[in-house]
């Protein structure tokens, strides 16, 4: 019986465990164009470099900022969408299908579209702003706000996924709970606060954790939409690791960046988990 598990276990080990071990090994070596693409041990010099690499920490902060804001917005929007789709009305199935389309498209396909929509001076946003008499928006060339454009692109694509998860949660809440509360004269807002949110909480946690981990590895969107610019303000950790490997031909350091990102992600997940647990305890007590 357990023999049936072996192929799957092998594949998973090959694809998850072996690379991680390889990264640990590679990060202790210099393997770059300067070494003729051959690995030479360098006793942790890569890690010293990583700790002192301002760009790595800047990218980590940017990636975290992107992930937190993007996921936060997604969950809020997803909740609204799920509440809308939970009610019964005609054409609900069709609308649900149409809402799913952004999630199904490859990221790079729409990333080109975003480049156009946010384009200065010809994109539609810029034209509308011009019509309304506003100044040139220059979104994609302004380092302080271009990351918001990438957040927008990410939220657009992944909200349907979170919405479906929350919708699943909503549909497990028995309707008599609402009826009971309504009989006591409670408003819709109170119903929401006392029934919906607490019962939805595990689903929100699931969607949050899942999306946070995925957003931390954002790569496709950034590479095609902004290339990491302007002034490196949208560059993510995954993109930095990619550049180190494929453009600078520094595999040792690229592996180090990826291990570093992985460790940061684990810490982030642990912190999230602890926060969620304490939040759960507090809600449970209330």
């Amino acid at each position: 019986m357990t023999a049936l598990l072996i192929p799957a276990a092998l594949l998973l080990g090959l694809v998850f465990v072996v690379p991680m071990l390889r990264y640990v090994w590679l990060s202790g070596h210099a393997d770059s164009v300067l070494t003729g693409l051959v690995a030479i041990p360098n006793q942790g010099a890569n890690w010293v470099r990583l700790l002192n690499d301002a760009r790595f920490w800047q990218d980590a902060a940017q990636t975290l900022r992107f992930a937190v804001v993007s996921v936060g917005l997604e969950i809020l929007l997803a909740l609204a969408i799920a509440l809308l789709l939970d009610q019964r009305w005609r054409g609900r199935g069709a609308v649900r299908a149409l809402t799913l389309i952004p999630w199904a498209l490859p990221t790079t396909v729409m990333a080109l579209g975003w480049r156009w929509i946010f384009n200065t001076p010809y994109g539609p946003l810029e034209q509308v702003s011009g019509l309304l008499g506003g100044p040139a928006l220059n979104i994609l060339s302004n380092p302080s706000i271009s990351w918001l454009a990438t957040v927008f692109g990410d939220v657009w694509k992944t909200t349907p996924f979170a919405a479906l998860i929350l919708l699943a949660g909503l549909q497990t809440i028995p309707s008599d709970l609402y009826e009971a509360l309504k009989l006591e004269g409670a408003s819709a807002a109170t119903c929401f606060k006392r029934i919906t949110l607490p019962l939805l909480q595990p689903y929100i946690a699931l969607a949050l954790l899942f999306r946070l981990a995925q957003a931390f590895g954002v790569f496709d969107l950034i590479q095609v939409m902004t290339g990491g610019g302007p002034a490196g303000s949208t560059e993510s950790l995954a993109l930095y690791a990619y550049l180190n490997a494929m453009r600078f031909l520094d595999f040792g350091y690229s592996a180090t960046v990826m291990m570093g990102s992985f460790l940061l992600l684990i810490s982030l997940c642990i912190i999230c988990w602890i926060c969620l647990q304490s939040l759960q305890r507090r809600l449970g007590r209330a």
């Binding site: 164009v33 302007p230 002034a231 490196g232």
Partner: protein
Amino acid sequence: MIKRRHQAVGLSVLAFVLSVLLLPSGLYWAQARSVERVSILMPAPFADASKELVHAFNQQHRGEIHLETIRGPLETEAISDLAISSLLLGDAPFDALLMDVTWLPKYAAAGWLVPLDRWFTAADIDALASGAREGNRYNNSLYRWPFTADMGLLYWRTDLMEQPPKTPEDLVQISRALQEQKRVPWGYVWQGRQYEGLSCVFLEMIDGFGGFWMRPDKGEIGLDRPAGVKATTWLRNLITSGVSPQAVTNYAESEALQSFKMGDAAFMRNWPYAWAELQKPDSAVQGKVAVTTMVAEEGVSPTATLGSWGLALLQTSSHQEATAEAIRYLTSVDSQKKLYLGYGYTPTVQALFLDPELMDVNPILPDLLEALEHTKPRPQTPLYAQFSDVLQRDLNGVLTGNQSPSDGMAEATSTSKTILRSAGEVMP
């Protein structure tokens, strides 16, 4: 007895007939198998421009060599990523590559290229214009044979001024005057986006202010020295004073060209290819444009960033002789003439710059030759991509107002020094 002899005769007749029939087709098959297929990866515009040359080559070498070009992306970084990706996977589907001058040290150091010394003699090298000779060697071996000689140029509007500016101050003054007279909305458009083009622009300016970017062999970085900060400040001031639009911080060559073509600017920095675009019927500045070298301070020689593309032969090619033959053909004097007349690609051979037939077609040829005398390559080191990346980020940060010029240059210098240090740890 007789039957067996009949059999023997019959068999030998059959054998004879078969061999007579099969021999020619066998020969043909053997010959067909020996046609060497050579493919060269080029950015799409170059591939399109070379179509006729490739056809002529195949006619000339029918039955022996079949040449084809593979169209790659235009953006330098995009096609480099593509080439590297193929080379890393080990089985590059092309034998040669049209490479930008800045990739050479990296590709050569990675061991992907074959030295071309045995196919190109010293006489061939002497025939090249001085600027075209740069950027083809690494560790004293010739790895790349130039295809076109590109250099950064300052385009100026002949209908708006008598003489082009010589110093940065001149350029700003002329622009401001023209803008005040409302004869043109913007003074100067250039490439300010965070990409390789920005490094090209910056090299011209930092050298024009009497400084230098970096000297890899000595490990010196010149970015935070006075000339570097001055150059950065000058570029930033172009935007803050309104001589250049804010959007220039997101301009690549095509956006700057579009702006200048529509008549929106008095000056543009771009490569020689832009000239042909500007003479097209849909251009608002047709016939009103000339080129000159980039501005530089008094007493400092102007600099034109070398941007030439050249052909390099890959180690993994199994048709090295045939590919070298193709490279010779594509860069021969005749081919260069055709490319110039048809597509405006700057020749590399000195003699062609003085050819009257070519000068007839395009009056800016002497200016290009002059600019070629002032070309300067970007720092030649296998780590160039990293240094350029650092400069692009910090410079774009200054241009977009994210940090001050001196802070930006200080940061770029310290990051560059870190890269040098790590490299030093690898190669004593």
